[in-house]
Amino acid sequence: MKDYFFQDTIGKPMDRVDGRLKVTGAAKYSAEYELPNMAHAVLVGSTIAKGSIKSLDTKRAENAPGVLAVLHYQNAPKVPGYAQAAHPTEPKPVGQPLQLFIDNQINFNDHPIAVVVADTLERAMYAAKLVKAQYNEEKHATDFNKNTAKAFLPTAAKRNPKHPLGDYVRGKEDAYKTEPLKIESEYVIPTEFHNPMELQSIIAHWEAADKLTVYDKTQAVMGTQNAFAKDWKIPVENVKVIATFVGGAFGNGLHTWPHETAAIMAAKKVNRPVKLMLTREQMFTMVGYRPHAWQKVGMSATKDGKITAITHEAIGQTSSYEEFTESTLQQTRMMYTSPNVTTRYRILPLDVSTPIWMRGPGEATGAFALESALDEMAFVLGMDPLEFRLINHTDKDPEKNLPWSTKYLKEAMQMGAERIGWSKRQLKPGMVKNGEWLVGYGMGVGTFGANRGRAKVKATLHKDGTLVMQSATTDIGPGTGTAMVQIAAQNLGLPPEKIVFELGSSLYPPSPSQGGSATVATVGSAVHAACQALKQRLTSMVAGNADTSFKGATVENLTFKDGYVSMTASPSARLSFADILKQQNLPELEVTEESTPDASLRQKYSMYSYSVHFAEVQVHPLTGQIKVTNMVSCADAGTIINAKTAGNQMIGGAVGGIGMALTEGAVMDHRFGRYVTKDLAEYHVPVHADAPNISSLFVNKPDLINNPNGTKGIGEIAIIGVAPAIANAVFNATGKRIRELPITPDKLI
């Protein structure tokens, strides 16, 4: 804990406010609600990747004990909000999420073809096995490598060449090609799956014909509410979304999925609440993934290490029915000084389900290529890769030509290099050994936009001096409630144990989804605003007191501390928040404040969070076994609200990065277009034995241009840059440059 600088409440490594609930099992996740008369649904998926259903035999399932309904494209309740094709024979419009049970088309293997509803889960599972489909099979295309020629510029960029997804040229196009000192390499990452511990689940309950309540695993309370209101053409306020606890998501809860609609349809049909939880196997086909990506980086530099040109191209996988894009190439445009930068992004539609953002979306993929290429270029130059990055460090945004709001990447690099013992690193690979094991050191830089959105918080100060705040954000694990309590404690001058922050319900004031590392900047700013408003109200109250000891009180000349207000100049004049309310005869004092970022600041400043990751690995030269033996992850993420939860996020991201680098990757059998690694035994998320001691260090300097608490996001930068740090360390250990992840032992023998 000595790594952190504590100041008042903000920054303290406070225990999670809901930690006890989580470890005792009292925290209730979406599938854990029990509603009276609840039925259970199981989704049935196709066993072909492309074609149509020829016939569907549901008789046996319908006649199985306890079965209430078997829904499919021929009998499912119509979703009124689905856009209908003008003619049934016309293909579905590309670019929209999968619409459930609208026709007999199969777009990917495990495409939902039916949902079975029964009175118990076991009966539903059994009946689901009895549903049999015959197909008109068509030739599918699932193999990325065999189809790269079909990749295209995303429609958004076709319509508007200035779109961030469009081709980008700064200086001369592909300038590296004619330079003498250059590298050119291709990099591949496989499809990766979020695999949060909690499976996706929903309980759908039609409380009236036009009134829907869902207990849903989601990162987006309002997004989910709006989506279902639109689908079912009912007023937004008639849809209630409850997501009090979310057991990890990493992005796959950012929008709604067909299984949710299946449960809602089923609940409508059987007129009972319906629970549907995906199986682990279905988590590989129903709720998105980090798309397979091919990348190529060309880079040139002068002998003394100045980058002269970078060209970065990427192709990302998407589905045949929806254009999924991510900002894979963004950091290449702004990270280094290079006068010549070219980026080209394409997407490749395949007969697979649609991807979704996965932690550090796009950027984590892009950073693997960019930061590996940096290492390759430094090696060509015979230069230390840290020195190479410092030489090409940029003090302003070369893409937007704007100053940074804040950037302390150099400080982060210095902290991390010291902690890992970077001076032990040798330029030549294979020089450091520990017994038989080859030791290597590598680094990788990460960046992600310091995003901030608009949020509203309701804050109620009760007459017992406690504060309850509410906002419709979610907590997928970072400790949102804890951070908000600390922000309020600091800003209002109230002990944290007297503050409660409630989230995860659409009944609360609106907040955006928890994604893009924006929650603390967004909701924290609204908490800040609510606290300021409360202070203002309390100030007016004491200033108007008959007792004149607070005469002339303003927010500025008062001290708010430990639940008391006092005149800073004469602290003997002191009143507790509770007493102020009592004097006013108020049972409570309620404010609702919205906080909106000042858009003009985004015209004046470029805002990013930064991370730098250092890895020490050992590789066995005979067996190819790889051990990450030390990791240091450093972040420039503005003010750190909670040293423990922030450190926790960094460590989690680093472990995710270890998975990306060394263990994770889905394998599909392209003869069937069907995954062959679809459980946690075969799809290898890293385990404790793969994770070394991981130090997380923070620069901890505020970015007050971004928001009043000075925070920048952590969630994404915690993983962005980790995979290349490890891959670069493997190169430093072995001299083997592995450009296709994951780096498994067979690639190193």
Partner: protein, 327 residues
């Protein structure tokens, strides 16, 4: 729901009789594999005979053997004093398998009966001769990175997934079996089968035969042993290749050796010829390299598992180095 009967007899005779006369009945002990397979619809027994009441948990010295009861838990065996003293190789192999949670549920008998982890066996929408004879081997021209390089047939190229089995075959264990026709002993090397034309037959046990115990004869391999498992993640992953190596050293000369591999065949793969080669040779890296080459004779790889032709011998050399202490 899927209907099945469940009985929990307290006498082994009753358990054996029940399964012997009912083709759709199976024994269940820890259930760490069978329950998974039932949930996925890969195995659909109509009757489960729970043997957990039978007194088969003991680990004891018996007539020059360490006798391990069929219901002894993997975790308990790995930590057992007698096992650690007499057969440290077995303890190492057990600790390399699965996860702590699984080892605390899985039994020794159950581990021997563990089915293959081939993805085509597990996915009922895919072809698999083992699950559904005649449908073809999905792995043969599919994804076969984890598959066999020895003893495979064109009907099946799956591997036995157990780590424990590799140590037991190296240590000349004997399986004590009780069945409707009485008791018999099966040498460990003959317990599992190669797939041949009948990959659906998993072991040489007959219907109703119950594993009572496994005898591991006391031997000189108490010190210079190593179980080396190379895998895609450092715990809870099946072996790409594993090697059980045991040496009896006289100074720097190998008096005798035991050597077996996992992750390479449909049964734990004993390397008799390499063992014979090692006997009487100096314990040097050069010797180990030659032994490894002998061990790999006859290996045949597929599209995705060619690396095993290199990783196999490398792992043998490294395991022998670890066992002998030769740097």
């Amino acid at each position: 729901m899927i209907q099945f009967q469940y009985v929990k007899p307290s006498k082994s005779k009753a358990a054996i009789d029940t399964v012997a006369k009912d083709q759709s009945a199976v024994f269940i002990a820890g259930g760490t594999n069978l329950v998974d397979l039932m949930k996925r619809g890969v195995m659909n027994p109509e009757k489960l005979v729970d043997i957990n009441k039978l007194p088969l948990r003991k680990i004891e010295r018996e007539n020059g053997n360490v006798r391990i009861g069929a219901l002894a838990l993997n975790g308990a065996v790995a930590e057992d004093k007698l096992v650690l003293e007499k057969h440290p190789l077995l303890a190492q192999a057990l600790n390399a398998g699965a996860s702590a949670q699984l080892r605390n549920m899985a039994t020794v008998g159950g581990n021997m009966m563990q089915r293959v982890r081939c993805p085509y066996f597990y996915d009922t929408a895919m072809p698999c001769n083992k699950r559904e004879p005649g449908t073809g081997c999905g792995a043969l021209e599919g994804y076969n990175r984890m598959h066999a390089i020895f003893g495979h047939s064109d009907k099946c190229i799956a591997v036995n997934p157990s780590d424990m089995n590799v140590a037991l075959v190296a240590l000349d264990a004997v399986v004590l079996v009780s069945g409707p026709k009485g008791d018999r002993k099966i040498p460990f090397a003959e317990f599992h089968r190669l797939p041949g034309d009948t990959p659906q037959i998993h072991t040489n046990l007959q219907q109703g035969e119950l594993i009572m115990a496994v005898d591991v004869p006391e031997n000189p391999y108490t010190k210079n042993v190593n179980y080396l498992k190379v895998r895609d993640r450092n715990s809870y992953a099946f072996a790409l290749v594993s090697v059980a190596a045991a040496l009896d050293l006289d100074g720097s000369t190998i008096k005798s050796a035991r050597l077996a591999m996992g992750g390479v065949a449909h049964k734990p793969w004993r390397l008799n010829e390499a063992e014979q080669f090692l006997a009487g040779k100096p314990a040097t890296e050069a010797t180990f390299l030659q032994a490894a080459q002998i061990a790999m004779r006859g290996a045949k790889a597929f599209e995705h598992n060619k690396f095993k032709l290199t990783l196999g011998p490398n792992t043998i050399v490294q395991a022998l180095k670890n066992a002998s202490g030769v740097a």
